[in-house]
Each structure stands twice: as C-alpha cells, then as structure tokens.
C-alpha cells in the first residue's frame, strides 16, 4: 500500500513548478558558478593552482548557505499547496490509505526532490568543469576532485533533513502558502546568524547544513547523526498529529 500511495504523490508532481525547481535551481547555481570561475580565471591561475577545488568549494558553500534553504522552503510550500489550494485534503483523507502513509510519502517526495537537486548540482558542476577545461585551458584544471565534492554534499544532504521535516510539518499544518514561506524565510535568516555561534550553530536545524560544510569533517559525525535522528523524531511527532487531525 505504501508504494501505491507514494506513486500517487509522484504522479501529482507532473507539470508542477516543484518538479521543475529540482532541475532548474541547481542548474542556475551551476551557471552562476561557471560565470564566476570563467571571470575569476586570472586570480586562480596566477598562483598556478587548479581551479577545480575552488569551484567545488564555492558551489557547495553558496548552495548550502543561500540556495538550499530557499529551495527547501519553496518545495515544501509548493507541495503542500497541491492539497491546500484545491481543498483536496477532504477527498484525499476520505480514501482508504492510512494517514501516516500520506504524511510519510509527502516527506519522502520532498527529500527525493532535494536529493535530486543535489545530484543535478553535482552532475551539472562536473559538466561545467569539463567545459571550462576544454574552453579555458588557462584555468589549469586537472581531474575533477570527486571526493571533496561528493562527501560535503552527502553531509549536507543528511544534515538538512531535520529542517526539511520541520518545514514539512509547518507546510501541512497551516493551509497557507504565506505562513509556510514566512516561517522558512525567518528560519533561514536566523540560521545564517546562529551558524557563527558555537553554542547555537551546532543545534539550530537551519544552521546544521552550513556547519556540516564548514566543519570539514569527512564522515558521519554528531551533526549528521543529530539531523537524521531529529528528522525521525519530528517526522514521527508530525505524523502523530496529522493522523489525529480533524478536517473541518
């Protein structure tokens, strides 16, 4: 039954902005980084350094700090809007699917879109790096540093799960696009400030992905474990509330 419910959530993505955003957002990032690397070639080459590590580091940092929090907020709001805008909850929840499956399927779809965006970002950056290597030899680009790119992206993918679970619950709890967007934007701004605090930055859900990048760890550490465990707790609590919710 779960896969049937999950497949309906995937079907609902057809022709939606939410689906397009998973492709377009990372590609916008790739294009911007392509331009920055091309223009910054003088500075990068002067030291005789390979431009790859700089390009990869900048891509991961800018994506994690700016693009990804906005992406998560927009995706969760848009996906919840599919049900909220047409007042579709009453029909969806009058079908014989257990409510927890509906809640979890929607969360899995959101995480799936985020991770798809990350895959597009990695693939797009690789393709743009190879193009730069061909078109702009002065950049002195060697082989693509796969591990320095994939490992931080994997850590970001895991450490953002707590924020996704919270934003998912908020979007489904209040049937207003504005509330969901406003909440996500405020949390994002607070996250940018708290990341500099040693006490708060390591715990605030929206700071965790940035910390995961800045800490430079290469494996599973406290941040990723906390984010994943936090997601399970928040998703379980959200599910519990969703199952008991009355549709008036």
């Amino acid at each position: 039954m779960f896969f049937r419910v999950f497949s309906t959530e995937c079907l609902k993505l057809k022709r939606t902005l939410a689906l397009w955003m998973a492709l377009v957002s990372p590609l916008v990032m790739v294009l911007i980084q392509f331009g920055i690397t091309w223009k910054a070639s003088d500075g990068l080459v002067r030291d005789g350094k390979d431009a790859w590590p700089v390009m990869v580091r900048q891509t991961v940092e800018v994506w994690t700090l700016l693009m990804m929090p906005m992406f998560v907020t927009l995706e969760t709001s848009l996906l919840a809007g599919l049900e909220n805008s047409g007042k579709n909850w009453k029909a969806l929840l009058a079908l014989p699917a257990p409510r927890w499956m509906v809640y979890v399927s929607k969360l899995v779809v959101t995480i799936g879109l985020l991770w798809t965006a990350h895959a597009v970002l990695i693939a797009g950056t690789a393709a743009s790096g190879l193009m730069l290597k061909l078109l702009h030899p002065a950049l002195n680009m060697g082989g693509m540093p796969l591990s320095p790119f994939a490992v931080p992206m994997l850590r970001v993918s895991l450490s953002t799960l707590l924020a996704v679970a919270i934003q998912h619950w908020v979007s489904l709890r209040w049937h207003s696009f504005t509330v969901a967007m406003g909440f996500g934007m405020c949390a994002m701004v607070v996250g940018v400030f708290t990341v500099q605090s040693k006490a708060l930055g390591a715990w605030f859900p929206w700071s965790l992905p940035i910390r995961a990048v800045l800490d430079g760890a290469t494996g599973v550490d406290r941040i990723t474990v906390f984010a994943v465990a936090g997601m399970i707790v928040v998703a379980s609590a959200g599910c519990w509330e969703f199952v008991r919710r009355e549709i008036a």
Partner: protein, 301 residues
C-alpha cells in the same frame, strides 16, 4: 431484518464546546437514495465528515456497511465513495490522471477509469487538463472519482452546488440510475427538498444540528395538508390581527397560511373590517417543500 448501510447512534459534535450536531441517528437502507436535508448551517456537512472519518464524533457511534467506523476505517472507505462540497481535483493534471490517484490507492483495475468516465459522460475529456473544465464537468469528474472501484455507498454533499439547470438535471439523472444500474446506495445532502424529491426514496431532515424527521419520501408526502392561503396587502400586520382573533397563521413569503380551512369567510370578513385588502383566498395543498420548511422553521423558532 433491515440492512442498513449507514447507522448512527445519537452522534454529536462539539466545536470549542458548542454543539454543531446533537444526537443524530441515521438509518440508511441498502439500495436507497437517502436525501439528508436541512438549511445551511444545520450540521449536514459536519455529519457527513463524521461519516467519512474526517471528523471524530464527540459522542455516539457510527456504523457503516455493518462495520464500526472507528475500528474499520480503511476497510469502510475502500467501499465508500464520496464527494464533499466542491470536487477536490488537481487542476494541473488531466481527468484521467486525477482518476489514476484514487485508482492506485484503491488498487482498482485500469479499465475502471474508462468505466467511470463513461458513467460521468466524460469519455472524450479524459486527456484534457482539469483546469480547463467547466464547473459541471468538474462535478461529474468528482462523481466519477467517487465511483471508482467497488463502491457500495456514495456519500455526496450538495452535489448540485453551483451547477446550472442543465447540470443539475444531468446530475439528477446520474444519481437516480446509480442504485438500479450499479447497485450503489446513495446518501446525498441538500438544503432544498425540491432538488432531491425527484430522486430520493428516503429523507432525513436536520435542523439546528438535530434530526427532526426521518422516513420515506412517501411518508413525507403523507404529511402534506390542506391549508388556507391568504394574500393580503400587509401580511405582517394582518397576521397580528388574525392571531389576536384566535387564528393560528404563519407567514409563507408574501402570503399567510392557516390550517383552519373552513374559516375562509370569517378570516376574510375580519381582514376587510380591519382595513386590509385581501387579493387571494383559497384552500390549497401544502407542497413538500413547504412541509420541509415548516419542519425546519419550527425548530428555528
């Protein structure tokens, strides 16, 4: 023993301590078209949402298809189709894709989509985006969704809301044929008896959150009485005068009604002597709609 597809036992619902529905006991027989009537705000939608498990009753028990709703929610919902107020559709998807969503959850065969599109008269619109549909087409697609799978009961909340006269006629025809051609029991709500009296076999009337009548449409018709309809220039003041003289009269729009059909001459004299201009005085049969209005108005009063 009567086979009830819906049976509620004194269900009630409180919203922030205030009762929206009180002690509602419904008895819907298999194969019937049950019209659940009441003015706007009477508690029909709240009751329907409780029948579908969208709201939890504050008191009482609900049995659908012989099963307790609290314990067998999924099993019941697999056999109950519903259309609550406006149809819930994804406008960015085609009609066929909109039907594919409940089809997958119900695990119904793919051919079922063509079957229900045919019933709803949307065979040629399956590939069109729902965003381009008229309200009538959306309503019919909502009904098609409710018919997917092996449904034994359809719960329709104001299914003709917002439809033009031809849309209402089409919907009536569809609903009327469902029990005989598809073996489905229909439970539908409306705020107007005239909208459903041609299709309903049974009627339940809700007023101010309480059931005030339940029976067959024939029994309801038997409650029709003769009455004296009085047309007068100032009905409000005339009603006061007649009440003062001991007649029990009621306002019915621009007319006054009295059950004392033999008092025509005396009433006429009293009104004329009281300075009123009487332009209509006749013994008439009360319509079903007026019986219904009388029931709900009495409760309000």
């Amino acid at each position: 023993m009567t086979d009830f597809v819906i049976r509620t036992d004194a269900i009630g619902k409180l919203f922030r301590g205030k009762p929206a529905v009180r002690d509602v006991s419904l008895h819907v027989e298999r194969g019937s078209v049950y019209a659940f009537l009441g003015p706007n705000g009477a508690g029909k939608s709240t009751t329907i949402r409780m029948l579908l498990g969208l709201l939890r009753p504050s008191s009482g028990d609900i049995s659908v298809l012989g099963l307790d709703l609290r314990r067998h929610r999924s099993e019941i919902l697999a056999r109950v189709g519903s259309l609550v107020e406006s149809p819930s559709l994804y406008e960015h998807l085609t009609a066929r894709e909109n039907l594919e969503i409940p089809r997958r959850i119900l695990d119904a065969p793919r051919s079922d989509i063509d079957r229900v599109l045919g019933i709803a008269g949307l065979e040629n619109a399956g590939g069109k985006l729902v965003g381009s549909f008229s309200l009538g087409m959306k309503q019919r697609l909502g009904l098609a969704q409710a018919l997917l799978g092996e449904r034994e009961l359809l719960i329709l909340d104001e299914p003709t809301n917002g439809l033009d006269p031809s849309g209402i006629q089409e919907m009536r025809l569809l609903i009327r044929q469902l029990p005989t051609t598809h073996g489905v029991t229909v439970f539908l709500s409306s705020h107007m008896l005239s909208e459903v009296e041609q299709v309903a076999t049974h009627v339940g009337v809700l007023s101010q959150g309480e059931m005030v009548y339940e029976g067959t449409i024939g029994e309801l018709a038997g409650m029709r009485q003769s009455c004296l309809r009085i047309g007068v220039n100032d009905p409000g003041s005339a009603a006061v005068l007649l009440t003062r003289h001991g007649w029990d009269v009621e306002r019915a729009g621009e007319y006054l009604m009295s059950l004392d059909t033999g008092a025509g001459a005396a009433i006429n004299r009293t009104l004329v002597e009281g300075g009123f201009a009487v332009h209509h005085l006749a013994v008439e049969s009360i319509s079903l709609e007026e019986v219904f209005l009388k029931m709900t108005r009495a409760e309000v009063a």
